[in-house]
């Protein structure tokens, strides 16, 4: 399984990679903004994606739309500090598979990730 981690914070990207590291994930790529994420996704069509919202160049919700235009079945877990219900509902309506609020802790992240994979 291939994983794409999209977040403008390198600390968060590394934390997510460590927390999700398992035998099931064979390859991990990282992107620091939405534009880079779309470019990488077009090349490699990752099996699963974690996606921040507040990022430079292209925000996460625009990136979500663009990746879903490429592949409507893409599995995308939003991981964002934006802790309001409207943003979470908006992301799910657009096609995100799940929404997790920062700050994240490893058990919650793994649970959300596994829930997304089980759908």
């Amino acid at each position: 399984m291939t994983l794409l981690i999209v977040d403008d914070s390198s600390v968060v990207r590394r934390a997510i990679e460590r927390d999700l590291h398992s035998g099931d994930i064979t390859e991990v790529d990282q992107a620091q903004d939405g534009e880079e994420a779309v470019r990488l996704y077009q090349l490699k069509r990752h099996d699963v994606i974690t996606l921040d919202i507040t990022m430079p160049k292209m925000d996460g919700l625009t990136c979500l739309d663009k990746i879903l235009q490429i592949n409507p079945n893409a599995r995308i877990l939003i991981i964002s500090a934006l802790r309001d219900r409207a943003t979470a509902i908006d992301a799910i309506k657009r096609g995100a598979s799940g929404f997790l609020c920062k700050p994240i802790n490893p058990p919650e992240l793994r649970e959300a990730f596994e829930l997304m994979l089980s759908d």
Partner: protein
């Protein structure tokens, strides 16, 4: 901004530090209002706010506290970039979490990082500037909330 609105930022700070280490409580001292000279420490993450509110939210801390957080995250900083990245991410998290109270129209930018005690920072023109002193593992930090 009303005085009671500061509580949502305090709750966000408590939630953040609890997520880092639940056994090391964050001590929040009484907030106060400051008109000049931001209480900046070594590193500061600045988030600009627009939409429903206008102003800035800052989180400032010293190298020691930030390195302790990185250690809890099992992150080994090779250089200063991880420290700068972290202080920005904390400011982003505390600001973004405030949408729990202020809603979707509380718009936040990506962080700008300042290094040093003053940097290029100026208080917004018409804001009420709240300083929230924080203490975690005997290390000081400040949350600065400046909103119209």
């Amino acid at each position: 901004m009303k005085d009671e609105d500061i509580q949502v930022f305090i709750n966000s700070a408590r939630r953040y530090f609890h997520s880092i280490d639940a056994s090391s409580p964050l001590v929040v001292e009484p907030p106060y209002v400051k008109e000049n000279s931001p209480p900046f420490l070594e590193y500061t993450g600045v988030i600009r706010i627009s939409g429903k509110a206008k102003g800035v939210v800052c989180f400032t801390a010293n190298n020691t506290l930030l390195r302790q957080i990185l250690a809890e995250l099992h992150d080994e900083p090779k250089d200063e970039s991880a420290i700068r990245d972290l202080v920005g991410e904390i400011a982003n998290t505390l600001s973004g979490n405030a949408r729990e109270q202020f809603g979707k129209e509380f718009l936040i930018t990506v962080p700008v990082i300042l290094h040093g005690q003053q940097g290029e920072f100026r208080f917004p023109a018409h804001s009420r500037n709240y300083v929230v002193p924080l203490n975690w593992r005997s290390q000081s930090a400040y949350l600065l909330v400046c909103l119209e």
